[in-house]
């Protein structure tokens, strides 16, 4: 019984997938009903995640492990998935292949759960593949759009390529140390050149998935082409899960190589922040804009990771929590506008405040949170990331990051300016979202305000952040 409890999140998600398959087979129910059932199931799934959270243990001789932190991370991903489902209501309502959408998305989620629970490279790799392949299919879900197929193609190519590199790294690591277990690896690492080389390959694989510069080129096209629901899944849920497993591998498996990865992360985070910010400056399409801004955010997360120790884990995990609410809030607003008016450019947002004041505030608060303006949670998230990075005494990195925050503020303010200040002859008409979308946006806004100001969230994550 206890062993089943260890895998409760995975089992819950699997159960939901099976129910959805049955719904698909019966194929008589309307989309509205299916969405009702799915959202109810996802709420149950989130609730199930929160019971018996502090179960700790291993399964399959250490291949699968869980503890309170991992359970918390899974809950975060669950909440994010629920929010995406709520926020995409309008788009999903008219989609022909509704159950498949959720089957694919939840399969990917299941893969992520296995990945962040993994105790060795084998199950890590299986989980990773399970999490990426369904997403490639999801990218193609705007079936009548050519861009969407293009995005799916680019996604599958780049993820296959990065998985290949990752696998190459793993196999060489196995060749030099004779183990693929995270627990045994640190004792066998000698820092020989071949090991460093294979570590760099592994790191590159991660960098691809996280869209760290210079491995970010697929991101913008994929994000722009995919349906917004998938884009938000990719940029929030998928990225979050990679950050979590990245923390585990770096802090645990590759702890003896701290010097090597510290320098790598230092260089890459500087490059990622600068390139992501500079590219975001010129974007017109909101999806592309959020894509590049999310690249820049990854640069900040890397600073938190570079800190190491308890602060490194807690600040990165906390930032992901903040990021889920802020980014999904922004994507949710963009999604709502796009599905009602078909408009996605910043110029078409001019004068939005005149017609949609509440939606404008939601988008603005989310963008301020992404920019790190108090009193939103983004401010606290960025502050803790930088605090974690500053602990190493690398003030050049911190200064660069602080200056990058100004650049990012500039482009977030561009959107705010369009919404509040600029005039438009034909602003987007008033949008009346459904109950689901309103609930989703409300949760995001509450999350953005509460997670920051109410310090217990951070303190709780900090107390969990021990390996």
């Amino acid at each position: 019984m206890n062993e089943l409890l260890l895998m409760k999140s995975e089992l819950a998600v699997t159960a939901v997938i099976f129910i959805l398959l049955f719904i698909k087979i019966s194929d008589t129910t309307s989309n509205e009903t299916v969405l009702k059932i799915v959202n109810a199931l996802l709420v149950l799934n989130v609730a199930a995640g929160f019971c018996c959270m502090d179960v700790t243990g291993e399964l399959f001789s250490g291949m699968f492990k869980t503890n309170a932190l991992i359970a918390f991370e899974k809950n975060m991903l669950n909440i994010g998935t629920l929010l995406i489902s709520l926020l995409s209501y309008e788009w999903l309502r008219n989609h022909r292949h509704l159950p498949e959408f959720f089957v694919l998305m939840l399969s990917s989620l299941l893969g992520m759960f296995f990945m962040i629970s993994s105790g060795n490279f084998l199950i890590f790799y299986l989980g990773l593949e399970l999490s990426t392949i369904p997403v490639a299919a999801l990218c193609n879900f705007d079936m009548e759009k050519r861009q969407s197929s293009e995005a799916a193609m680019k996604m599958i190519m780049s993820s296959a390529f990065s998985s290949g590199i990752l696998l190459f790294g793993i196999s060489m690591m196995y060749g030099t140390t004779g183990t693929i277990s995270f627990a045994e690896l640190p004792m066998l690492l000698t820092g020989s050149p071949l090991q460093i080389f294979s570590f760099i390959l592994l790191f590159t694989g991660f960098a691809f998935k996280l869209s760290v510069v210079p491995f970010h080129l697929w991101t913008a096209d994929v994000y722009e082409g995919s349906p917004i629901a998938v884009t938000s899944f990719l940029s929030v849920i998928s990225k979050g899960s990679i950050v979590f497993i990245f923390l585990t591998t770096l802090y645990k498996a590759f702890a003896p190589m701290g010097e090597v990865w510290y320098n790598l992360i230092f260089l890459l985070s500087v490059a990622t922040m600068i390139v992501g910010n500079l590219f975001a400056l010129r974007q017109q399409n909101m999806k592309r804009f959020l894509a590049f801004s999310s690249i820049a955010q990854v640069g900040f997360i890397l600073i938190g990771i570079s800190g190491g120790g308890q602060n490194g884990i807690s600040s990165s995990v906390y930032f992901m929590l903040v990021y889920i609410f802020s980014n999904l809030g922004a994507f949710g607003a963009v999604q709502l506008i796009s599905s009602f008016s078909g408009k996605e450019t910043i110029d078409s947002y001019k004068g939005l405040y005149q017609t949609n004041p509440l939606l404008s505030w939601v988008l603005t608060i989310s963008l301020f949170s992404l920019a790190g303006i108090p009193p939103t949670a983004g401010f606290f998230g960025k502050f803790f990331l930088l605090a974690s990075g500053a602990e190493k005494g690398n003030y050049i990195l911190i200064t660069i990051a602080a200056l990058n925050m100004i650049v990012s503020l500039y482009y977030y303010l561009r959107v705010v300016r369009a919404i509040f200040m600029e005039k438009n002859e034909q602003p987007i008409a008033a949008i009346e979202g459904s109950m689901y979308e309103k609930a989703g946006l409300l949760i995001c806004v509450i999350g953005i305000i509460a997670v920051g100001l109410y310090s217990h969230f951070y303190e709780y994550i900090y107390s969990l952040s021990i390996f």
Partner: protein, 496 residues
Amino acid sequence: MNLSLLIIIPLAAAIAVLLSRNGQQVKWISFLASLAQLGLSLFLLSAFMSERANGNVSQMLFEQRYSWFAPLNIEYYIGVDGISISMILLTAFVVLAGVLMSWNVEKMTKEFYFLLLLLSLGAYGFFISLDLFTLFFFLEIAVIPKYLLIGIWGSGNKEYSANKLALMLMGGSALVLVGIFAIYFMSGIHSFDMVKLSQVHIAIEVQKIFFPMLFVGFGVFTAIFPFHTWVPDGHSSAPTAGSMFLAGISMKLGGYGCLRVATYLMPEAAKEYAPIIIILASIAILYGAFATMMQKDLKYINAYSSVSHCGFVLLGIGMLTKTSIEGAVMQMVSHGLMTALFFAVIGMIYERTHTRKVEELGGLLKIMPFVCTVLFIVGLCSLGLPGFSGFVAEMTVFMGSWQNPEMFYRVATIAACMSIVVTAVYILRAVGKTAMGPITNEHFLHLKDAAWNERLAAIVLVLGIVAIGIAPFWLSDLIAPGAELIMSKIPTVIIN
């Protein structure tokens, strides 16, 4: 006395404003809240003075301390000394006047007052914070409302000005952020508590790197040369209350930060860099004064003269004598009141004549006696006429500066003194042209004098100016212990 009330009242008012039904309610809620804040600040002043009179000599009074983010030792830690109380009083006066001056805002009234209240919340929070994290938190809270106030309700090239202001101020706060981290980690005690931090010694090498960052970071807020360029654009594009808040409160955040955080926590570096600060301040004073001579727009005149006047604040801090620091704080209070009043008057004139160009104005004294009388008062205060606060503050800064016996300091003091002549020229020219002489436009003849809300706003600020001008002792007694404390940490000069 519960200091948190200073934050709770604006917060509650801001929420009430959001929930209120119409513009009338919004205005009255804001007015009552700012009136309550003023009452509370005056009560705070009397409570503080009676505590001190009773012999309570602890550094900070009315302290409150709650753990906020325990893993990083972040606390919600507030308390006041004389310097913060004088800044709180300034804020309360300016906020009340600003709220009164915006009585005619018709466009998005609710949002306008919400942002004003949020801005005042940031300022109050900043002045009472004793924890660097809380201080930084409130500092940043005060930036974005300004951006929206200028961008939405402003005039002229408002989007550009709003962007410039937000980015430059955020740049300043980014430097402050790095400095705060350095203090936190390098002090060795992993704490943001300023009182505790002031008792440990931060290594001189660390101070030398991070003092300039903190000082320039805060300096951007108070228009340190060459980062003053947001001031003219921001002030001239902002709506009346926006300009009043910007010049009256927001620029003082920087001066207070330079003093309380940079100089107080890194005294050795302050000594080390004093000549550079003095040079920059003198440039700002003279450059600001000469640039004002060339301006034709009343708002630009006041904005550039603000650069010049805020230079005195930095000069006072840079001179590092007890009197000069006292003078710097007095100048912050005096300039805040004076410049807010100046912008209020300009707003009154502009609202009626629809022009701010000095050459298009003339003879207004005959039509609007009240407005023009206030204009004279504020002009004379600005050029430092005895009896008004400007004279007291600038005189104290000069006195303090002259106490430095070295040639360099003396030359800088003399140079700064010369700006007074320039100030007299531009103020007398602008005020004289606007108020006196023939009426330039017959359309002006039908204009009305100030309304009740404008009169009340002007009277509130004039009272402040005159109270300091006639009886400066209460203010200097209030500030002196704080200034002395900061000075006690500065290493003494070796004269050879």
